[in-house]
Amino acid sequence: MSANMLVHLMLWPPLIGFIINGILGSKLNKTFVQWIGCTGPLVSFIAAVLAYFSFKDQKTVVSFYQWINVPDLFEINFEFFLDNLSFVMLMIVTGVGTLIHAYSGGYMHDDEGFHRFFAYLNLFLFSMLLLILGSNLLILFAGWEGVGLCSFLLIGFWYKNTDYNAAARKAFIMNRIGDLGFLIAMILIAYQFQTLDIRVILDGAKQYPINEPFNVMITLFLFVGVCGKSAQVPLFTWLPDAMAGPTPVSALIHAATMVTAGIYLVARLSAMYTLTPITNQIIIGVGLITALIAAFTALKQNDIKKVLAYSTVSQLGYMVVALGVGAYTTAVFHVVTHAFFKALLFLAAGSVIHGLHGEQDISKMGGLKEKMKWTHLVFLIGTLAIIGCPPFAGFFSKDEILAAAYGHHIIIFILLSIASVCTAWYMLRLYFSCFHGQYRGDHHSWDHAHESPVIMLGPLFVLAILATIGGFFGLPEITHQTHLMHDFLSKSVQDTSHHPSHLFEIVLWLVTIIVLVSLFIITKKRYSNKSIEEYNGSDTGISNVFRNKFYLDEIYDLIIIKPVYSLGNWLKTTFEHQFVQGIMYLPSTVLSKAGTNLRALQSGNTGMYILAMILGLVIFCLMFIFKLV
């Protein structure tokens, strides 16, 4: 099949699914809605696999039509681009996407907005495909904003709840702050390079010297966009709140795909970022702070989804650090493994929540491995993968990031290792709190707790297998095997990071194993038999700061939202009313007084009088013209 055909087959099925379910969904029965909803992603996935076999290692451009034409600035085609980087992203988005669609069929089955849910998910997939396939930044941006929109719709899916609505709005607005950075960067690029076509930009960038100020500005503005979408400091606080959405949404959008769009963007433009070391320093700093803050916060959260959300933020911080040190393929590798194990963890958490009829508080869980054998198993696999236990997927990618960090500077390595230990701690805490020890909720909910249906477990098993073996796509150098992922990606992305020695690798492995085993023993002891009070007990000092998310929401509220809010109120009530209207009403007050007085003399209302006056003046002026000549 031609590339053109395959791109059509990838893009449109989800959009068609969205249109059918969006318009007719309320009249169709649920099975049909589910079939429509799942077929679109599946067709996309098959098309992506076919495209992979026909066009891998090539750069294929597929052009549909001209979208915008402003000469020398925005000559934009509706054009798509297939290369190895897009294939990797395509596999995750359509593959994991299809699994999560199937899972949603079980998870959302009793919801009255079933068709709406599938419509939004399909629209999300379409936008995400625009994002990863777009051959120029403007198409990419269309997808970028589109996924933000779907995220908004799905976070606020249960729209009767005003808190959820607020969370949805927060996500959209924080993303939009980032989008403004992206938009400005695009405009600057258009003026600098006279095009937005990614390949032409990257070729053009090579002509400039290192740290050329204009390019630094461009990369920094773009990175503002990355901070918004990929939840980096200071724009990350929307992601934990986004857990208000249904759990499949958290798995698909807020863990596996959308939030990694920022990583994809930087990897895509890596040739430009390698030329701006100043920006890279800032990127490393932001990534480190994000990874640490989120990891610390996760230590003290009691909501199962919040822990996973902060863990996502922290892992994104890892990826951003990898980007900053120039290990672009490593970052993408971590995107892949993270998509597997984080989607797995979220869906397993969803299975727990589903089985407990909506309970999300881990202080009311415990001992669930008896009731949910399969969920327990896959959750354990996900946990082992994320904490970097060999030979699960997370081990290889995380190890690579740490090695690259070490190659750059030892401080980065140390800080990332601290975050890594925290990750192991809070994930094991989560695992033991949920599945081991005694159940801490009431008897009624224990009796009703149940394992999830096959349609939900199926996708979990597939993801569990991927989370187990996913790491073998990227075997480290020391094994003398080819690093498949690195090899594959090197045809579109060039790494600039340094690899440390083999000795370092071996030491790192040994230390990792020792640390993990000891953490496993400590946390098992500590969290298997904790009472409900101990979870909710008040903390002092630094743990209180962690529990309250470093008070960041409160700080933003104090220094940004409240002042702007008050300014708005002041402008509306005081300034607009007294000042602007006062001055502007002056002529009308005077005239209307005059009008009222004249009305006593003449009959007819003021309006008519003014009208007559004006017409008179117009005529007078016209006569004046005649006299002029």
Partner: protein, 482 residues
């Protein structure tokens, strides 16, 4: 021989006919009038071939001693605004369907007459014709608001009138001076007008007059205080015309007259643009704090129009294309949003944002239409609102990076107030007494047409740009010459 004047005459004749009819027949006559005017425009567009100059002209000697003619014709600049005025005219009459028994023939007659005047205004080919219809378009609106508006309508329309008339006088004075300055030169086309070079010290005076006249009409900060009251008080079919089309008269004025004062703009441009951008932020912040839907839309319009006006003041070809496109896009979105306001106000009896809470459950179709219009209004890519804003912000960024960023902040604030407004009106737990009645046929049609256009402009902007582009290339030569 096709004549552009028919775009003025057609609605005018149907409008006059309406005055002699009872309400219901008058409604259908007005419907035919507006639809035929739109179709005639499309017919002209199909036959429109020029990439330079004017077509379908109609000239008539007006003031013989000064060689001033009434001159109506189509050129590149007029096409998108004319499409807007005819389209929105039709949408406005669609929306009046709900009022067909409550209004008499003169109401529909006046609606059509204002469409006629707006059409003529956009087709005006010299400053005096421009001025004539700039004024005339006001008169039907005046009567419409004063007779069928809300309880405070008199006061609000009075303020509006004083404002615009004040601006118009400055415009008239400037025009008289301009003509007396250029003396015996014939200036019955815009191209003739631009050929006359005005000394720089005079340009400043002209610029002040133009900025105030068109700034009031758009409106631009700080000349906006007539706006919110009028939008609140006028009845909805009228306010659709005012918000979607009349507000574009000011922008169109900037586009037509900026070339006369180009040198003055080089010196004062930044200050005036800053003024417009203050309005962008100011309008958005106040819109955020509004509790009344029509007033919110008024301040949101202030914000959007401020951005367009700021763009036009950069006197840059990209900004001009962006402005023409964005005028159309904003007109479509705001007309749709006022349609929503109309439906909601009739179903719930008020326009307080929380007054219709939970409506998405009861009226999912309305909620969907409304949401798409919100997206267009916040400028999401692939909807109508995006491309115009992109070009305007690009032009401002080129002018000065800081100004571009300030203008860009409007896309954040736009999302803040529009989404909050939407969620409060449509989402939430809900109130009890919302009429479950579905949308009427014409309301549905109105929404569907607008939404098709939202996506047509979003997915295929290039076709529309081609139309606007003729207008801008027309100016290309003058840019060079200055």
């Amino acid at each position: 021989m096709l004549s552009a004047s028919l775009l003025f005459v057609l609605p005018l004749v149907f409008g006059l006919l309406c005055f002699f009819l009872k309400s219901r027949p008058a409604y259908y006559v007005s419907l035919i009038g507006s639809v035929s005017s739109l179709f005639y425009f499309i017919f002209l567009l199909i036959n429109y071939t020029a990439t330079q100059g004017t077509l379908f002209g109609w000239e008539f000697e007006w003031i013989a001693k000064m060689h001033i003619n009434l001159h109506l014709a189509l050129d590149g600049m007029t096409i998108l605004p004319l499409f807007l005025s005819n389209l929105i005219g039709m949408i406005s009459i669609f929306s009046a369907f709900a009022y067909q028994d409550k209004r008499n023939g003169s109401y529909f007659g006046l609606l059509l007459m204002s469409i006629a005047c707006l059409n003529a205004f956009f087709m005006a080919q010299n400053p005096f014709t421009f001025y004539l219809f700039f004024e005339l378009a006001l008169i039907p609106i005046y009567f419409l608001v004063i007779q069928w508006g809300g309880p405070q309508a008199k006061k609000s329309v009075f303020t509006f009138f004083i404002y615009t008339v004040f601006g118009s006088f400055l415009l008239l004075a400037a025009l008289i001076y301009f003509y007396s300055y250029i003396g015996i030169n014939v200036a019955n086309n815009w191209s003739d007008v631009y050929l006359n070079k005005i000394p720089e010290h005079l340009q400043y005076w002209f610029l002040i007059a133009f900025f105030i006249a068109f700034g009031i009409k758009s409106p631009v900060f700080p000349f906006h205080s007539w706006q919110a009251n009028l939008y609140e008080q006028a009845d909805k079919p009228t306010v659709i015309l005012i918000a979607a089309v009349m507000s574009k008269m000011g922008i169109f004025g900037f586009l037509r007259f900026n070339l006369i004062v180009q040198q003055a703009l080089q010196h004062w441009g930044t200050e005036l643009i800053v003024l417009c951008l203050i309005g962008v932020i100011y309008g958005a912040l106040i819109a955020w704090r509004q509790n009344h839907f029509s007033r919110l839309l008024a301040f949101s319009s202030l914000s959007h129009m401020g951005l367009i006006a700021a763009g036009t003041l950069t006197v840059n070809a990209i900004a001009m294309e962006g402005a023409l496109f964005q005028c159309l896009a904003h007109g479509i979105a705001v007309a749709g949003l006022f349609l929503v306001a109309d439906v909601v106000a009739r179903k719930t009896g008020n326009e307080a944002l929380d007054g219709s809470s939970g409506m998405a459950k009861v009226n999912p179709r309305l909620a969907t239409y409304y949401f798409i219009l919100v997206l267009a209004s916040v400028g999401l890519p692939l909807t109508s609102g995006f491309v115009g804003e992109l070009l305007l912000i690009s032009a401002l960024t080129k002018y000065q990076l800081g100004l571009g960023i300030i203008a860009g902040v409007s896309i954040i604030l736009g999302a803040v107030y529009m989404l909050q407004c939407y969620q409060r009106m449509m989402f939430g737990a809900g109130v009890q007494d919302i009429s479950k009645a579905d949308l009427s046929l014409f309301e549905d049609y109105g929404f569907i047409i607008l939404i098709i256009l939202v996506f047509a402009l979003g997915f295929f902007p290039i076709q529309w740009f081609q139309l606007a582009f003729y207008g801008v290339t027309q100016f290309g030569d003058y840019f060079m010459s200055h």
